[in-house]
């Protein structure tokens, strides 16, 4: 028998718990709006969250004629879009520039990771908390994926919103806006994490003994892992949350364990994505949308900093920016996104999968005295592909030093509204949930 934790005191068997989990996943009570399955140009979204904020000048908006203290030291290379250049760190993406579109006039309201992160993930500054510790007015909005989860309920036991990566933070402070907010726990992201040694981790459940879903390959090992979870629950170590119910139910299904198992891929395919956390996480995201998960978010890192903990390190390159870009972040991003786009296209999934890559802001056009670039909220880039959007376009332009938008300024709220539009979530639906981003759909993309 499994005793549920603090949320309820109903004793329940493992089988009963599984039934509860399945019920929670399937969501038995929907209002009238939800009964209408939305139809849009995209069936799924892969949201690549470049935490820390990549430089616009060192990636997709180089300014070779800017003064030396501004311009990137990297050479420019042509893309397939006439007149559009990237830095030389992105040759693979330059070669595929006819498969995606670029937003070069993004801007946001804050240069604090925490605040800008909340805006980037929810489309709103409401409830954001920065390093100053002061909450911005209003209730924090649900993150984009939770909104999608509210509207696009999965059938068949899979969560409709998965995050591949750990919880975001700057310093030791968590970020507001990663979760479902007022939509409730049923719309919280279901978290997976790629571990370079062990494989895919299900964060909601500590499987112990280094076990990951793909290693639960026989009944005995699976039963042992589940018994272990039950023992921990009986000790009252943690409440029996809806997330745990979901995870528990998923682990019982061979097909979901298989879905999480990157070992199902050929070594050559895994190599193509890059044997980095981000690369393998992108591959996992592709496996998830293949199973029709509506929204998958991939976090480049947990922490904003490049040299601290958490996998590949973030994009917050206050110092050593150019070295890190050359040695790591440039080649990694170039390879992973390029392969993701190729792989989705080869499988016939790109037309139905919207891929968005963006950080919370850009970086100072003027190079600082630490061979780095600092936070810059006034201008940055986003990459958008698939999901029925028109590729090979550049929407918006920046000024001569990529300091400010020159034409067609765009916001995270606009990007959020565009994602909703692609998925067929109407503004009426959004408003009915109190979820309107306040942004305008970027119509040129459709």
């Amino acid at each position: 028998m499994l005793t549920l934790g603090a949320k309820t005191s109903i004793p329940v068997s493992r089988r009963g718990a599984i039934q509860i989990g399945a019920s929670a996943i399937l969501g038995m009570s929907w209002d009238r709006l939800l009964a209408q399955a939305p139809t849009g140009s995209a069936k799924s979204v892969i949201f690549l969250w470049l935490w820390g904020g990549p430089s616009q000048l060192d990636t997709f908006d180089p300014k070779p004629n800017a003064p030396s203290e501004f311009r990137s030291p990297f050479a420019n290379i042509p893309t397939k879009i006439p007149g559009v250049h990237f830095t030389e760190l992105f040759p693979m993406l330059a070669h595929r520039s006819d498969h995606f579109s670029l937003l070069r006039s993004m801007h946001t309201q804050s240069n604090d990771h925490g605040v800008a992160g909340t805006i980037g993930l929810t489309g709103s500054i409401a409830g954001a908390v920065g390093l100053d510790g002061n909450p911005r007015p209003g209730q924090a909005r649900p993150t984009l994926g939770s909104t999608v989860a509210k509207v696009r309920r999965m059938q068949g036991g899979l969560p409709s919103f998965l995050v591949v990566g750990g919880k975001l933070h700057q310093g030791k402070k968590p970020i507001i806006g990663e979760n479902s907010g007022f939509l409730g726990a049923s719309c919280d992201p279901f978290r997976l994490e790629f571990d370079e040694e062990k494989g895919t981790r299900v964060n909601a459940l500590d499987l112990g003994q280094g076990l990951t879903p793909e290693r639960l390959d026989d009944r005995q090992r699976l039963a042992g892992a589940l018994d272990d979870i039950e023992r921990k629950l009986q000790k009252g170590a943690s409440p029996w949350t809806e997330q745990m119910q979901q995870a528990y139910a998923l682990l019982l299904r061979p097909e979901s364990r298989k879905m999480f198992d990157l070992g199902q891929e050929t070594p050559a395919m895994r190599d193509r994505y890059g044997r980095t956390r981000f690369g393998q996480s992108c591959l996992l995201a592709r496996r998830l949308v293949e199973k029709k998960v509506p929204f998958v978010q991939v976090n480049w890192s947990d922490h904003v900093e490049a040299e601290e903990d958490a996998g590949d390190g973030g994009w917050d390159h206050h110092y050593r920016n150019f070295q890190i870009m050359v040695d790591r972040h440039g080649p990694w991003l170039d390879r992973s996104i390029s392969t993701l786009l190729d792989d989705l296209r080869d499988r016939g999934l790109l037309e139905s999968t919207l891929v968005v890559a963006v950080g919370e802001f850009g970086r100072t056009p003027k190079i600082n005295e630490k061979a780095g670039r600092d936070h810059w909220e006034h201008c940055y880039c986003a990459l958008v592909a698939g999901g029925g959007i028109k590729p090979g376009r550049v929407i918006g332009t920046s000024d001569a030093r990529a300091e400010r938008p020159a034409e067609r300024p765009l916001t995270p709220a606009d990007l959020g509204a565009t994602i909703h539009q692609a998925l067929g979530i109407t503004s009426e639906q959004s408003q009915s949930f109190g979820l309107a981003t306040g942004g305008e759909v970027i119509g040129e993309l459709f």
Partner: protein, 292 residues
């Protein structure tokens, strides 16, 4: 003074023709990201930076036995430390230590015994200090600092702490590597608009441009006899290892694959070049033989 007698001459080395597939043996296989490769003067170990389980640290590996990767500094610091290089007598290693403060970091230059004991600060953080390299006599370090506004190359006398600035221009000057006779330095510079390979005298005079290509040329490394320079370039579209004469002529491509190939390091005899590549997926160390 260090003797420069090399039992082996590069005249006996066969440089591969451009486009020829490389022959290299794989040394590591742990799957973690690696960078900043440096070969021990006795030819037995390779020193490198590894990011493993979210931590960035200096490690070494026996180049013959390969699989046993060990953290260098003991006890291992909790903060990132990277980009190590050996003194020519093999007794010490200079490296960059990142002191994390809040959400930022401060770089300083440390020296540690080759067995990883007794780390100590030699160049405290003043600006952002990187890429320390011992001069062959062990009396000085060349390193990169932003103390005058952007990355420049400086020398530091270890006993007197005297600092001399060697480069002065608005571009980035970095990745220094010293010829074994202690007379020339090869380095990367963005002063021409993108990163090129240059060389100069040890006092910063007589700067010569060695590459002139609209692509990235970085991480140069003198061969032991000083006649050749290995470096990384993306002129083929991806990063590959090249070798050229010390005057920039006679270019040869060493690696020829679609991965990232970087951080060339010569073995003491000049017969082999170690490098880091993800050509087979993960970033691992390979050794390419130049023998006939």
């Amino acid at each position: 003074m260090v003797a420069f007698c090399l039992a082996w001459s590069l005249a006996q080395v066969v440089m591969p023709q451009t486009g020829q597939e490389e022959k290299a043996r794989q040394i590591t296989s742990d799957g973690s990201f690696k960078s900043h490769l440096s070969w021990s003067p006795d030819g037995k170990k390779l020193l490198f930076t590894r990011i493993h389980k979210g931590k960035m640290e200096l490690c070494s590996v026996d180049q013959l036995q390969g699989s046993k990767v060990e953290p260098l500094v003991q006890p291992p610091p909790n903060t990132p430390h990277f980009d190590g290089s050996w003194s020519l007598d093999g007794k010490q290693i200079a490296y960059v230590h990142d002191i994390l403060q809040g959400t930022d970091g401060k770089l300083q230059i440390n020296i540690v015994n080759a067995d990883g004991t007794q780390p100590k600060v030699v160049i405290p953080h003043k600006a952002f200090e990187e890429s320390p390299r011992f001069t062959p006599d062990g009396q000085k370090l060349l390193w990169v600092s932003t103390r005058d506004g952007n990355q420049e190359i400086y020398s530091f006398e270890i006993t007197s702490a005297k600092v001399t600035r060697l480069t002065q221009n608005p571009g980035f000057d970095n990745n220094p590597n010293i010829r074994r006779d202690g007379q020339r330095v090869v380095f990367s510079s963005s002063r021409y608009g993108n990163f090129e390979i240059l060389s100069m005298n040890m006092d910063g005079s007589d700067t010569k441009r060695l590459t002139n290509h609209g692509s990235l040329d970085i991480w140069p490394s003198f061969s032991p006899d000083g006649g050749k320079i290995a470096f990384t370039s993306n002129r083929t579209g991806n990063y590959n290892i090249f070798v050229m004469d010390e005057n920039g002529g006679n270019l040869a491509q060493i690696t020829n694959n679609r991965g990232v190939n970087n951080f060339a390091a010569w073995n003491p005899s000049g017969e082999e070049i170690a490098y880091i590549s993800n050509k087979n997926g993960a970033y691992e160390i390979y050794i390419h033989s130049l023998r006939k």
